[in-house]
């Protein structure tokens, strides 16, 4: 760390997000404005000097010589997080690592790996790992009129309410792994602001050609599925279990394999509406 500290740092920022304090420093002036949109939604500047994690972004400077590539390097404390000739890739790694660290380290909230939309005053949650098709389903829900909350995290408070983590959606186009970022507004949808109670959780994964025939899941089984997607269950089991308990109180769960997102999305919204009607009669 001392070696890194000795470098000439041009700009630095201390931020606080969900009670987690982190610092970012860069060795080139004018780079921080590119970092700001990558910070966790709702972050604020902090004036504290001590941070829990310090990111050091060393941008390669000077001309390239023949046979030698200059790489930009990102460190989290003393650990190398990314090393690349493309600065965009290194900035993307900063975003991923900072969000992941926030999800893991915060004790203010419980982070679940899930896509979330708001629908008729309730949160609809799609837990799942990478490549399970969360973002595609969220995007389809937005097209049908849902409000955007997140394509990556369901953020749950002590009362079991789901808060927005409305970072731009990372959409993989043309079956490639590379993601293009879209804000909800650019997709013609609104972003949620208010925390919502969860109305439905949909556990599904994509399989080409599959027909969407979901089966109901009990609350306990559903809670177990959410537990399997929670970031800090090992480090904060008491809080995680308590918040999950509050989260699932008024929720229904369905599980299945889906084919194309538009079919599943329409069916899910129909189910949700039917449930709403049942509850009001």
């Amino acid at each position: 760390m001392k070696k890194l500290d000795r470098l000439d740092w041009a700009e630095r920022l201390t931020l606080s997000a969900f009670g987690v304090r982190a610092g970012v420093r860069v060795n080139v002036s004018g780079l921080l404005p590119r970092v700001l949109p990558l910070l966790p939604p709702g972050w604020t500047k902090s004036h504290r000097v001590i941070v829990e994690r310090l990111y050091s972004l060393v941008v390669a400077q000077g001309c390239e010589r023949a046979g030698m590539r200059r790489l930009h390097v990102l460190y989290a404390d003393t650990m190398t997080v990314a090393r690349d000739a493309a600065l965009d890739q290194v900035l993307a790694a900063l975003e991923t690592d900072l969000h992941r660290y926030t999800a893991e380290a915060t004790s203010d909230m419980t982070f679940l790996h899930a896509g979330v939309v708001g629908w008729q005053g309730r949160a609809m949650v799609f837990p799942g790992r990478t490549l399970s098709g969360k973002t595609t389903l969220v995007r389809e829900m937005l097209r049908l009129g849902a409000t955007y909350y997140s394509d990556e995290f369901a953020v749950v408070d002590n009362f079991g309410l789901v808060h927005p983590f409305a970072r731009p959606l990372g959409i993989r186009e043309d079956s490639s792994y590379a993601q293009t970022k879209y804000t909800a507004e650019r997709l013609g949808a609104a972003s949620g602001v208010k925390p919502l109670p969860m109305g439905m959780a949909v556990i599904c994964k994509y399989e080409a050609g599959a027909q969407w025939q979901p089966a109901p899941l009990s609350q306990g089984q559903g809670a177990l599925e959410l537990l399997a997607n929670s970031f800090a269950v090992r480090s904060q089991p008491h809080q995680t279990l308590r918040r999950l308990h509050n989260l699932v109180r008024h929720s229904v769960f369905i599980k299945g394999t889906r084919g194309e997102a538009h079919e599943a999305a329409a069916s899910i919204l129909n189910l949700s509406c039917a449930r709403e009607r049942l509850e009001t009669t």
Binding site: A92, A93, S218, A223, L227, N229, V233, L241, V248
Partner: protein
């Protein structure tokens, strides 16, 4: 082999009730379990004082229906497999699940005990991983688990 003695539920686990199911988190093994209504009711009665026949009788009273002792033995076997009971000092006789189901018959009056388990993920497992050709510093960061040392580190596959 001795007959199953009075089983005792482990008390060093976290548990929460979800309707008549119970979610149990094993702090030692970092495993979550969902006990269905019958397994949960049996687990709660494992106080170290009741034998399986006594648990069956108490369950019958609680559920207002006859609960066969075989159902209790099946629940105890599953609870033991899930490490939710204090290990007995002497090995106990295990009931084959097939034999149990045959003895219970297809017209069992209660829901058969069922325990679903998952290993709690680490934060890294939960998070999105890096995909093919994305920059990486080590293999753990890649979905494929392969970080090639080219161009300063790139994920291969995944």
């Amino acid at each position: 082999m001795k007959e199953r003695q009075s089983p005792r539920a482990r008390v060093d686990c976290l548990s929460r009730e979800f309707g008549n199911e119970v979610l149990v988190y094993d702090l030692q093994r970092d495993v979550g379990h969902c006990l269905n209504s019958t397994a949960a009711a049996a687990w709660k009665l494992c106080d170290g004082n009741r034998s399986p026949p006594q648990i069956a009788r108490t369950l019958s009273r609680q559920l207002s229906t006859r609960v066969d002792e075989v159902v209790v033995l099946l629940a105890l076997d599953q609870l033991a497999d899930a490490h939710l009971l204090v290990e007995p000092e002497v090995p106990v006789e295990r009931l084959s699940r097939r034999v149990a189901l045959r003895r219970i018959g297809i017209a069992a009056a209660v829901v058969l005990p069922l325990i679903t388990s998952i290993v709690a993920p680490t934060a890294a497992q939960t998070a999105s991983c890096l995909h093919n050709n994305q920059p990486c510093a080590n293999s753990a960061m890649c979905c494929s688990g392969i970080c090639l040392p080219i161009l300063g580190g790139r994920c291969f596959g995944g």
